[in-house]
Amino acid sequence: MFCPEKYNSSTNQTHVMLQTRKEIIKELRNEILFLQGGSHPIKDTAVNIELGPINAAFSDKSLPLGTIHEFLTSRPQTTAATGGFISAILSSIMPVNGAVLWIRQKPGVFPAGLASFGIDPDKIIFIYLRQPKQLLWCVEEALKSNALSAVVAELPGLDFNSSRRLQLAAANHSTTCFIQHPPVSTPTICGARWKITPLPSGHADDLPGVGFPRWNVELLKVRGGQTGVWQVEWDGKTLRNIAKQSFITAHEQKRAV
């Protein structure tokens, strides 16, 4: 651990010392993460999640798995955008033969629409349950089953106790869970909290028509990482940052005049 003697050593040893300092900080960070409640805060995940610019926000430069990701949705439009963002993540964490459970209250997600996010919709099993109690039970069972790559749930609400239960189940069984729910007043426990809203699309060459989906991604809370806001575009394969590409669409030009 931290040893003050090392600071008094010769210049030749400075490099070594810096190395040790870096290591010390990393170790301390790990400890803090552990105290914050994550079970496997930094693990060597073989999957490389293509989150583009957002990856920089996380403590180990990749999306934390085996935890709860909360997504705040309020209207069907944001639900669709959130669904798209989750599908984009799923496309990289779903292995070739992985299965995903998508739990919601009633039918509505169109499987053919998921295919454009690089996932195999026939590997997704949809479960429709009306009662919130049954929904929560089902999500928890799914997290405990060890049979799934990830669990996606759309809940009508979430309270502190159930979020804690779900977080424990996700952490103990290393299953990633994406929960969409409307904003609630009570605090909830999660690994990361997101808010995805749709953004106007655009073409680089100012072509007419609707372009690739674009979202405003707000990372409101993340364990051991930096929160932030990004404007990203899903180009069919990866997420790209679009904040720096400043161009004015035809419509905006019209409005400016």
Binding site: A147, P200, S201
Partner: protein, 500 residues
Amino acid sequence: MIKKRFVSIWFTSLKADWFRVHFPKLAGTPFVLSAPRNGKLTVTACSQEAALLGAFEGMAPDDARSMIATLQVIEDKPDGWWQTLLQQIAHWCIRYSPAVATQPDGLLFDATGCAHLWNGEEQYLQTIKTKFNKLGYSVRLAMVGTIGAAWALSHFGPQNGCIIKSGEELAAILTLPPAALRLQPNVTDKMHQLGFYRIKDLIKISGSALRRRFGNELITRLAQALGSEDEIMEPVQAPVPYQERLAALEPLTTRTAIEIAIQKLLDTLCGRLSREQKGLRSVTLQCFRVDGIVISVQICTSRPSHNPQHLFSLFELKLETIEPGMGIEVFMLEAAPVEELTADQKKLWGGVNGLNSAALSELLDRIAVKTGEGHVHRYLPQEHYWPERSVKDTLSLQEERTTDWNQSEPWPLLLLLPEPVIVTAPVPDYPPMNFRYRGRLHKITKADGPIRIEQEWWITRGNHRDYYRVEDEQGQRYSLFRQGHYDPGKQNWFIHGFFA
């Protein structure tokens, strides 16, 4: 091969016994049952007391009444009713043998391999007889190796019942009258006239001569009684080959006891299934309560399973529905249908096994048992452009898709039921300028389309749809369509979904 054993039970006076049991006032009094036969009121059954005083079947009830002053004449129930009663008794008798069939005036058990559970055939017959006598029915039984001989000996054999070893049927039926062979009355009458009073008189005569005189039926019946020709019985309930039963020494009432019973049954059943490389898709637990009520609990699995822990965890979710009441005497576990289940090839690497993993199907089973059927869906693509028809709901996890997901057009991520929207569309076949959805005006800034999807006339008739993918000022993307051709006077626009 195990020698077949059959038990034939003859209710000597089923109708009278039933009335005496259900109307205790009739006990010890002479009574007859009457019903119209061939347009004439006749006696169809008489109690023992009435029979002793001279009443017999087929006489007019008034004649009987004139003979016996205290006689009660009761209206008989229809024949179908008695058959139903026999069926019910047969179902009740499944506790003695899995295969029970009804006969016109009795029951037939296939008791092969059953008697040892009662410590031998004598005790087996004695138990059945005592049980029926206790309930108030007089029966005559015979346990023989063929159905024909069993029937003959139960009806014409010794009163106390008899047990004849397989292969000795001939000697046993020699002294019985020809009627014991279940022949038509006209044939037996003819035999009587010709002086054939015993079966042994017939045996000596050659088969061809018998056939010429009495018809083919006699030869068949004789062969059936002697076991040289097979006879088929139709059990009231087809026996389930994968069945386990557990009788409790004392009636069970506690949850723990029931759990142990279920676990024991599952262990034996699953042991057998795994030895035979089979897995069950559905299993029913029947709890026979002391008060005669049978509680049955069924669980289903999405793929064949012989994992006792998993099956028990499914039963665990349904334990609340088992009300032990005064106690449960017998548990019975029946697995049907049963499918082939070859051992899984275990993977050395890779934890997740996708849709084929046993853990996933076990999870889905738990969800189905807890929440009921019809909540689990999986979709496969179909070769249709019409969005509602482009996916098919399947229950199976194993079913592979036959076609690729159609990605030629962008599809919305959320698909609604088409909901009418008010649009402003001044130019034909151009995307609308704006639309009003749920009270909010959305101004369209970007649009793609139209994509025309024709109604498939071979499925239903109707208008085509022109789909537009539009984006409003907030950047939200919608799927709109116009049903049919452009018509400024008609509101034929619908919103069909949300793009991501």
